[in-house]
């Protein structure tokens, strides 16, 4: 759970205007007002640096919630 919480925090810290406290594992991140292609690039960079997993923008786009994205990272990590 700690790792999951850490992932949520890392994800939230790429946003400049959205309050970090609104992020949960159920957050549908692409529906956030501030979400943009630039933030998606920052998230991909964060995921590569912190989790050693290189996702494509399309792979990330297929995830709806942070839970789905986190699961994708974990499954890629195991490969």
């Amino acid at each position: 759970m700690k790792n999951q919480q850490e992932f949520i925090q890392n994800f939230a810290s790429q946003f400049d205007e959205t309050d970090a406290s609104i992020f949960t594992i159920e957050t549908r991140f692409k529906e956030l007002d501030e979400w943009s292609s630039l933030i998606s690039l920052a998230e991909l960079n964060m995921i590569a640096k912190n989790y050693g997993v290189k996702l494509t923008p399309e792979e990330m786009k297929r995830s709806q919630t942070l839970q789905e994205l986190y699961n994708l990272i974990l499954s890629k990590k195991q490969q």
């Binding site: 501030e34 943009s36 292609s37 630039l38 690039l41 991909l44 960079n45 923008p57 399309e58």
Partner: protein, 333 residues
């Protein structure tokens, strides 16, 4: 001999493209969304018959009149552009003639983008140190909009056309310190206008859209956002660290950071990544956009007008090439 920046000015084309104008063409975007993400409210676009050379001449004339500079003291012209008038001759020769500068002077173009101003300062410092020239007119000028497809909303939103003019001399208000420079040509394909040179002289007419709806064409400006983002976030913190080391300074001893003004989100991302206080991080994007090699001198011009230039000022440019560079200026109060 030490080299100093003596004066900076710049020039913009007349035509303004506002976010409202862009939203009319791309109704899926909102005015507020462009402004909040990219940090650009309006950008200037060169007219059909207006080139980077024209803008650079205008910037130089502005510099001479604003600071009452005798143009006959200029003994070298450096012009940074990726949008020359011709394959040959070099635009700097045309500029010498247009500005009616002396004939007993050196003049050359060099082809760099967002790192170009830093490289210009390094060349100018070298010319002064070697006693080759004393009053160098460093010009930057770019008209990327001529290379951007009209349906490429991403790049049209970010880039503005502009030119800058800087006088570098053996006296001035900012002593040019030590440089950190970097190059990695493996990134060449990620920010490119592929056709029209001698490798691909003819248009390839391969326009298509990627999975994310981004327009891609070999015949227009292409930017691979993901790779450019990754390059920047890898290279710039290392660059800042290296330029600090070369100048024997710590991050907290820098009074103002003037980075290449890529876009608001990217700049803020780099600021947080490096750990720079917001009030020490100068941003001037709203009225001009990303003007490529002119962003740093334009920002410096406004920082000076706002009396924000003092102490140690760290400049950092990075982009197309890949090419990057940084320097620290010591402001003479």
């Amino acid at each position: 001999m030490d080299a100093y920046i003596k004066a900076i000015s710049y020039a913009l084309p007349e035509k303004i493209v506002s976010n409202e104008d862009l939203v009319k063409e791309f109704p899926e975007w909102t005015v507020e969304k462009i402004a909040s993400k990219i940090g650009v409210v309006e950008r200037r676009i060169a007219s059909e018959n207006e080139t980077a050379t024209d803008l650079a001449v205008k910037a130089a004339e502005q510099l001479f009149s604003e600071y009452n500079i005798n143009k006959h003291t200029i003994d070298f012209v450096l012009f940074c552009t990726q949008s020359p008038d011709y394959f040959l001759p070099t635009s700097a020769c045309i500029i010498q003639n247009r500005l009616e500068l002396r004939k007993e002077i050196g003049a050359l173009d060099y082809n760099l983008g967002c790192s170009g101003y830093i490289y210009g300062l390094s060349l100018a410092k070298g010319l002064i140190s070697a006693n080759i020239a004393k009053n160098i007119l460093l010009l930057t000028g770019e008209t990327y909009n001529k290379s951007i497809h009209h349906l490429d909303k991403g790049n049209r939103t970010i880039f503005g056309d502009a030119a800058s003019a800087t006088l570098i001399s053996d006296k001035g208000f900012a002593k040019i310190g030590e440089f950190s420079l970097g190059t990695d040509g493996s990134g060449a394909e990620n920010l490119i206008v592929k056709t029209g040179g001698f490798r691909f002289p003819n248009a390839l007419n391969d326009l298509h859209y990627d999975e994310n709806g981004n327009l891609i064409s070999s015949d227009y400006l292409f930017m691979n956002g993901e790779d450019i983002f990754n390059f920047t976030s890898d290279a710039v913190p290392v660059l800042v660290d290296d330029v600090l080391k070369k100048n024997h300074l710590k991050l907290e001893k820098i009074d103002l950071f003037v980075f290449h003004q890529a876009n608001k989100y990217m700049m803020n991302y780099l600021r947080k990544l490096i750990g720079i206080d917001n009030e020490k991080f100068y941003v001037y994007l709203e009225k001009v956009g990303n003007t490529v090699s002119s962003t740093i001198p334009i920002a410096m011009y406004h920082a000076q007008k706002e009396a924000k230039l003092h102490g140690n000022v760290l400049l950092a440019g990075f982009g197309v090439g890949y090419s990057w560079g940084g320097v620290i200026l010591k402001i003479i109060d």
